[in-house]
Amino acid sequence: MFWGSRKTINMNYFPDEVLEHVFDFITSHKDRNSVSLVCKSWYKIEKYSRQRVFLGNCYSISPERLIARFPGLKSLTLKGKPHFADFNLVPDDWGGFLYPWIKAMGKSRIGLEELKLKRMVVSDESLELLSKSFPNFKSLVLVSCEGFTTDGLAAIAANCRFLRELDLQENEVEDHRGHWLSCFPESCTSLVSLNFACLKGEINLASLERLVTRSPNLKSLRLNRAVPFDTLQRLLIRAPQLVDLGTGSYVNDPSSEAYKKFKAAIQSCNSIRSLSGFLEVAPRCMSAIYPICENLTFLNLSYAAGLQSNELTKLIQHCRKLQRLWILDCIGDKGLGVVASACKELQELRVFPSDPFDAGNAAVTEEGLVLVSAGCPKLNSLLYFCQRMTNAALITVAKNCTNFIRFRLCILDPIKPDPVTNQPLDEGFGAIVRSCKGLKRLSLSGLLTDQVFYYIGMYAKKLEMLSIAFAGDSDKGMLYVLNGCKKLRKLEIRDCPFGDAALLEDMGKYETMRSLWMSTCEVTLGACKMLAKKMPNLNIEIINENEQTESNLDDNQKVDKMYLYRTLVGHREDAPEFVWLL
């Protein structure tokens, strides 16, 4: 019967269905993982009731094992290439293929409904197979993927009868100018979200209008550059219920009929909370947007190269409820000052460089950041490309905003010191990690010594992801981080003087992390081989583009790119020739 105090209830008296119902309320992946570790019966119940699975590294497990582990899988998130692939540090054929997953799930009885992919290679064939294998498929989200064409999209449109969401974010899509949009059958009325902003080709406008007209649940619509202004206006009339709008080409003549109609149309779109697009923009037309600005919580103008600082600030002044702002650095420090005074609810700010390779021309400096930190106390997420940064500014920012969860600073000129004191930026970043106890993600830049890593190891106890470039003096730097950051999951390092001693000091650490990337560091082949030998649960991959074979290299030679990750399934079988699996 009962052991222990009267307050203890033995949950094993509950039938499985009750437990399952209780587990339904537990949605976070981490919590569900914990639940499955409690006892065998909980493991079993959780296993069969689990619907959503997140795989941060598609090579950490195989499709077959995933299916066996969670037969009730309905929603899968997969990430493929390492993060630095975004910056061309990973060759194209490295891996991250979707097809094997679709094939395996298609053969099994998995009733897949949602698929979210990041940095994966997605072929038309896999999209077609996907569209035919899962009759209840509802949602496809592709972020930074490549390998497919509009033909693949046509298959999705044609075959997924209950499709609710097709969201393409920043993918490299080969545009065959087919009429993929027209492939949505007339019977398809379930669309809630349609984002094709990253497509470069022409769109069948008539099909688009018809599609939007017959989608009464459409909440999110992001158009590509090929959709002209007057079509946008007509779409708004059809879909005044939109919550998220991405404009296509936003160019018109303010005196034209179309413009007047647009102004009228947008007045009735009072549900819009999120606005993006403006790849092509006529500044004089921006005032038409002002009426909806006061409700906006997310504004993404990071592709609006045609807007100057004064136009941006005029617009932003109306956005009093803004929580997330993505903008180009042409807004300037003064413009950021306007943001600071207008957007008191701001939580996330991303300032992208309009001229990434011209460090001298970057229009924002430390001043803009300080202004925003002073004016926006709720700021918790930052991505900031700037021309320069000072320790004093960072210390001030740290004082003003203690809530940072993500802090990513990119000073365009690598290894640039504090221009005022000529010192490294160790103290500035140190202040950030000391003050922001909840910091989960950090990207460093500027001139940095081992000292900054000392601070990170000492204070950044919740840190999960760290990106380092051109920093540090010695192995000590890396060791501070590996030893101090207990929650570290992803570490990516490029062009730092960290070598074998740091790599090999605590090999078990890597099993607690998702992955480690080191490129152009001081790590030798021999050390990598040793690590591979001692840690069978890690895959150590050497990416070698020099057309040398393994036998040519001796162990003392430095490795150019190394990527290691924990895995349960050993070496992957789809690695190209230039990837050596040790």
Partner: protein
């Protein structure tokens, strides 16, 4: 890829490789017409003179480019250069003196490996080429001292021939000899005061110039960490915005300037300058903040319309030469024709 995997491989090959190589950059392996161009210039130069004079105002087809004098090109390059450039002295000359002798200085050690060959061919010669590091993808961070290693470490799997394009500069300058034509740089309509980076990191070339340029010019792959999709999109959207805004100012003469080795191009309003020297120093300033060294980005911004001209500038006047492409597609040394 040698490991077969459930037909994935084929997809990858067909679907992945081409998009990525194409990447909207229109990169192809090209034989940089440098030589052939020049020869056509030579032969046709004189005969086309009279026509050109008449067509003075038809500037659409001219392009400006700046020749990059290489310092340590392999022997064959030197020969090539000498061959083509005729009388060139070694000493770097201020290329922008409004002189009419069309002397193209510095050209000898031009970076021209890719003259007649696609990029992949040139890669073989790399080990000899100390100064030049080409990657298809992007910049490479190398301090001066390590240049000799760079070719090796740079290597990426594929080498689109983009590099060839940029390289030909000096040979282009050969056009200077036939530069008696009174061509003026073409005008480009737009108002946009500056071009956003046109680069697709994937296609930039890197010419590591060792000619005594401040060795600290580093070239960095994958820096700054901007997603290549974003970089490409911004580049092409800035171009489009130019066309969109319309109404250029009364005398706005916008000209695209590409610097050899630069990941993206700039635009200059020629009407704001009154002498070559002004233009030259403005360009110098514009590209001097270019700590990331020279990267050929010719292909990056996509194919330009004939009506646009390109100017290639260099970080240091003494090492770079301003050249332009006229309406016949010949590379001309800037400075021969009067400013007006």
């Amino acid at each position: 890829m040698s490991s077969p995997l459930l037909g994935v491989e084929e997809e990858v090959q067909s679907n992945v490789s081409s998009p990525s190589v194409d990447c909207g950059l229109g990169l192809k392996e090209r034989n940089y017409l440098g030589l052939s161009d020049c020869s056509s210039v030579d032969s046709s130069g004189v005969s086309s003179l009279p026509d050109n004079n008449k067509n003075n105002l038809n500037l659409k087809a001219t392009e400006l480019r700046l020749g990059l004098p290489g310092s340590q090109s392999p022997k064959r390059e030197t020969e090539l250069c000498l061959l083509n450039l005729g009388k060139l002295d070694e000493k770097p000359l201020l290329p922008l003196l409004p002189s009419k002798d069309g002397i193209c200085s510095s050209s000898q050690k031009n970076v021209v490996t890719g003259n007649k060959r696609g990029f992949s061919d040139t890669m073989d010669g790399f080990s000899e080429v100390k100064g030049y590091v080409y990657t298809q993808k992007s910049w490479m961070l190398r301090e001066a001292g390590s240049d000799s290693e760079s070719p090796q470490s740079v290597g990426h799997g594929k080498y689109p021939g983009n590099s060839g394009v940029n390289v030909i500069l000096s040979v282009r300058s050969l056009g200077a000899q036939a530069s008696v034509k009174k061509e003026e740089p073409a005008n480009v309509l737009q108002k946009q005061p500056r071009a956003t980076n046109g680069t697709n990191l994937k296609q930039t070339d890197i010419a590591n110039n060792k000619s005594g340029a401040p060795a600290s010019r580093a070239q960095v792959v994958g820096w700054p960490p901007v997603r290549s999709f974003r970089a490409k999109t911004l580049a092409s959207s800035s171009k489009n915005n130019d066309e969109v805004d319309g109404e250029p100012g009364p005398a706005a003469l916008f000209v695209k300037v590409s610097m050899d080795g630069a990941p993206y191009l700039r635009k200059v309003d020629l009407s704001t300058y009154s002498t070559y020297r002004e233009l030259s120093s403005a360009l110098e300033k514009m590209f001097s903040c270019f700590t990331l060294g020279q990267c050929g980005s010719h292909g990056a911004a996509g194919k330009e319309i004939l009506s646009q001209s390109k100017l290639k500038d260099l970080l240091h006047v003494s090492e770079y030469v301003l050249t332009y492409k006229d309406k016949d597609g010949d590379w001309m040394l800037v400075g021969d024709v009067t400013w007006e």
